[in-house]
Symmetry: D2
Subunit: 164 residues, 4 copies
Amino acid sequence: MTDHHSKNSDEQRPLTHASLTAFVIGLFNDTMPFNTLLGLDVVDGDTGIELHVEWKQELTGNPLKGILHGGVTATMLDTIGGLVAITETIKHTDESQLSDLKVRLPTMGTVDMRVDYLRPGRGARFIATATVIRKGSKLVVCRMELHNEKGDHIAFGTGTYMLG
Amino acid sequence: MTDHHSKNSDEQRPLTHASLTAFVIGLFNDTMPFNTLLGLDVVDGDTGIELHVEWKQELTGNPLKGILHGGVTATMLDTIGGLVAITETIKHTDESQLSDLKVRLPTMGTVDMRVDYLRPGRGARFIATATVIRKGSKLVVCRMELHNEKGDHIAFGTGTYMLG
Amino acid sequence: MTDHHSKNSDEQRPLTHASLTAFVIGLFNDTMPFNTLLGLDVVDGDTGIELHVEWKQELTGNPLKGILHGGVTATMLDTIGGLVAITETIKHTDESQLSDLKVRLPTMGTVDMRVDYLRPGRGARFIATATVIRKGSKLVVCRMELHNEKGDHIAFGTGTYMLG
Amino acid sequence: MTDHHSKNSDEQRPLTHASLTAFVIGLFNDTMPFNTLLGLDVVDGDTGIELHVEWKQELTGNPLKGILHGGVTATMLDTIGGLVAITETIKHTDESQLSDLKVRLPTMGTVDMRVDYLRPGRGARFIATATVIRKGSKLVVCRMELHNEKGDHIAFGTGTYMLG
């Protein structure tokens, strides 16, 4: 942030949809302590952006059963919903407006979320995905899903996000 | 679990409301790895059972802002809702039925949850509380709240829990 | 109900999946006063059971705009979710258990519901559909959708239903 | 709207908090066809604005049980939440900004709503109330309740409303 040299080179390269999306994915992957604590990993999957986590004992609610804690499920759904709300907003923003959007990113927040737990969170890896169902200039609503590596459907979510 | 001696003494001392409640609080405090990872602490507060957590960098979503990650909020609301659903069910169960209830405890799970984020999660300590709003033999619905140590109201939740 | 003759013929014809489903659709179409007030109509569509309503002035929230009142949307989503929760339960019930299920039908009720309003309810006809996402012996969770006759997607819903 | 005379007299009398609130209550009471169909009545109660309805057969889901249809409950909660979202926004708006707010009123809409059904809707009269839990310039979140005339608590709601 205080490196003048890199600031200058930033100014020389105008933002593109791809570079701002990559910047946002980097924020989620590298700078969010709770995402790091859980081991969340943003992956550019076949059908879009996905959020992955490998099963580990620390993420379970019950040591005997080895089932994902419901809070991990909620965290993954909230996180992928917020991330896709941003990347879809980037996609639909004119390139000339991207630097304005970048400035507003820190105001983005979850307004509310519903989680539906469908079956116990058993698996070796868990994959969260999201789709935008309502997109306004300030408000984005997403539906989210969590599956395990075998494709078992573990949870649904619906989240309302605001970009201030 | 495999200690025959303690098993025998368990059989000699029949379950009471107080002993089963203490057993459940112990489960949440000592045996749930994700609760330990986050530093969640069940406390018997003035107005009932509370779930506390001290702020720490690992629980934040953004290192610059120091605000609680929305997933921590969701985890705390889900956890206190489930815990109070159980302890209130214990309270309303005839003492002669408590050992049956204890056997059914591992089937308890969240069906669905809504979280309303009211303001950024700033504070030194966070306190989650819950109240039962619907109580059936199989299904319990709770409303949950998260405040910081100054009493600022950070989030509301509503959760539907099933006891199989 | 007091007609001994028809009671006898009921006893002679055992329930089938088709006859119990038809009975339930009849209940929703012919005996529920609020459904009649709104003009709701259960239709056996291409992809399953649908709930239809024709636009009329009485269903609008604002006489100048002619947009469906949000309460009509919520009513349709709740109704189709409950109906599909029952018909899917019938489908997965052994024929020998159908008369037990019929006795339990009046205990069926909505536990909770979320509605997401996606766009203004404009159209000449509105069609609500539902899919079961979680099915237990006591608890069924559905996702519901409302479209207009052109296929515009007006609302999403998620409902949790209990069969006592 | 096309009456020049009343338009002129409107221009002469500047809006006050009381007059704009009365105008909005009038809209809900007199100009919304679905509210009229159900018999909804906005009442200025002891603790704030309330929405009342008298029981009548047409509002029931089951003619034998005489219980309020879940869609009536959802409609009442959505309506009182939206109404209180507006009247609280009026209360916190500077008098000089009220005419701007009046122009934006038609853009107000429900983004999402959760309803928790606590017990069967039995009673002679039903009363819906709402409280604002989050208030921003564009977005208001309310919690709503439905009771019968004896004070039995029938349903809870949570609604997110946007003022465009």
